[in-house]
Symmetry: C2
DNA sequence: TATAAACTTGACATATATGTCATCATAGGC
DNA sequence: GCCTATGATGACATATATGTCAAGTTTATA
């Protein structure tokens, strides 16, 4: 898969899960320990950054979702 | 989970899967498109770097393993 | 249409990932 | 002992992730 496509798919998946939990970007950011600033979340959800494993792990913890689930967006399409 | 622990677990998992496929680090590196150099693989397996999503994706493709499986190393322990 | 909540965007300093090279260490087989 | 395969390590230039701020946009709603 091409890089930009991958990042967009991941971002869309995070957004979908976040919204399913009724959280705003800022809520997720605060849960991840950020200083009341959702910039990083916005970038990730838009696919404008290539997050590291540790960042993915922090999202996973904050959303209470296994990392494996966050990356399982290829079961549907390819 | 603490960052260093996470990176070490991920690295150990990659190493286990790579070896189960009978591949040397250099084989994986070449499959990922690197120039006959396994330095990056060595770093990742040792947990000395915090790989990006795209790097994880390249490993996934090269090892023919879903990304979700590569990150599913918490099913066993925590 | 005014207001507020939610999200986006550009910029910034800092840290670190990436890919590569040269070199070193280790282990096994001959 | 020698050679080869394998992996580890330090250094390097370059690219980019991270966390933050300020400012802008979008959306909804009263």
């Amino acid at each position: 898969m091409e890089k930009l496509v991958l990042l967009k798919k991941f971002g869309a998946n995070i957004k979908k899960i976040r919204e399913s939990k009724g959280l705003a970007q800022i809520d997720l950011a605060v849960k991840m320990g950020y200083a009341d600033d959702a910039t990083s979340i916005s970038r990730i959800e838009a696919g404008r950054t290539n997050p590291t494993l540790f960042t993915i792990h922090k999202i996973s913890t904050a959303l209470d979702m296994p990392m494996a689930d966050l990356l399982d967006f290829n079961a549907l399409e390819e």
